[in-house]
Symmetry: C2
DNA sequence: CTGTAAATATAACTATGTTTAATTTGTGAC
DNA sequence: GTCACAAATTAAACATAGTTATATTTACAG
């Protein structure tokens, strides 16, 4: 049947992306197939290739949406914090939450390797940089006398570290498997790293009682 | 052609694993196929299923060997260091080296998700714990007054962090792409984290001039 | 009303993992 | 020695995958 006109090309695209996200969320990337997506939106497989160049492109699009959603989640997680230390902890916590709640979609962002080297690189890098810059903004406030480059490096190191914990936890490579101890791990890394940073930054503490809470969490946070 | 007797079951197994490793190393996991492995060792696909239950099992076996090889590499990287700080930096550097040199095999350890939940969990966890304990040993020397549990937490956090940097670097999600700046990132994370740890450990510095080198690297290591 | 191009489906092609059914061949019994 | 049986190996078959090519339907232009 030809041009039904029921859905525009953009609509089909959106429907396909949503269906794919749902499949991936439930069954992981290995559960994704072109025919499954097509039938989920009431079309046959050929129509998918009318909208996407190939499955790789669909996956890249899903990854892009995941990164957007992640960015929104992270910014929303920071509305309540006032001191950079607390904000960074909130960021870490929210990141862990997102990774835990959307394991498969989150993993796919980092694990999918397109077979035909195409467009994905630049798009993803920008969206990833945007995430890192959330961390940079906080670090800049915290370590005022550091240069832009130093802040960039610090944000890369710290955030990659949080990312690593999330991966280790989700792939079950850590000894402690419960959610709480993983959360404590993240707090532990962030706070110790910041303590290390402030060794050279004498006047890092500008916030009032929140910073106190932060420092109190440094050690005993994981002792239970 | 029946029992040729040219190779024992164990020999075929070893040959298949080596062939698979080579394919993965060159083309990545997506390039791996049962028929490709079989033909690489001069057999047909059916014979693979005489030795392995399925492809998942083969992959798990490869992953196990990768973890063993990684463990050996890391222990060898520590023969020249005397002070825990230097040893930890050597560990981080060696880990990054291995990940960079064997990208696909290294990624597969963390990225492959078996479709039929089978045996892999326990084996991998043990081998992973062994890696973490290399870090624990160093931290134990460095922070003598910390409890075993605290050391475990610290090692998990720090090593997951290094792992995260390696992943971010390899998946091209970091701004700085050259090998040197990634290496600096790792040094940066390790040294700042250790500085943070020693905030509560007054007498952490026991080594002589090596510790000096270590501290000197804290800041300017990434400034170039 | 008719033709044309777009939208969609159907079918085909190749490659994959896995299973089943041959087939070959070493080896022990007699 | 040769005969049978079991083990080792191949060949074939099946289901499903991504992708491409072809057919078919339908909206719209004239």
């Amino acid at each position: 049947m030809g041009r039904r006109g029921e859905h525009s090309k953009a609509e089909i695209e959106a429907m396909a992306l949503e269906a794919a996200e749902s499949i991936i969320e439930n069954e992981g990337y290995p559960g994704l197939s072109a025919r499954k997506v097509a039938s989920a939106i009431g079309y046959t497989v050929g129509s998918l290739y009318f909208v996407f160049k190939n499955l790789d492109e669909l996956v890249q699009r899903v990854n892009g949406r995941t990164l957007d959603q992640l960015y929104t989640t992270l910014t929303e997680a920071m509305v309540d914090c006032r001191v950079p230390q607390t904000c960074l902890l909130a960021l870490g916590s929210a990141y862990l939450d997102y990774a835990t709640r959307h394991v498969h979609r989150w993993r796919m962002v980092f694990e999918h390797q397109p077979q035909s080297e195409g467009l994905p690189l630049e798009i993803h890098q920008d969206k990833m940089y945007r995430l890192f810059s959330l961390v940079e903004d906080q670090l800049q406030v915290l370590a005022t006398r550091r240069s832009r480059e130093e802040i960039t490096v610090a944000a890369s190191a710290l955030w990659s570290g949080v990312h690593g914990i999330a991966i280790m936890a989700i792939t079950r490579h850590l000894r402690s498997e419960d959610e709480q101890s993983v959360r404590n791990l993240t707090e532990h890394l962030i706070s110790h790293y910041l303590d290390g940073l402030s060794v050279q930054e004498s006047d890092a503490q500008t916030g009032a009682e929140e910073a106190g809470i932060f420092n109190a969490n440094v050690i005993p946070s994981h002792s239970q």
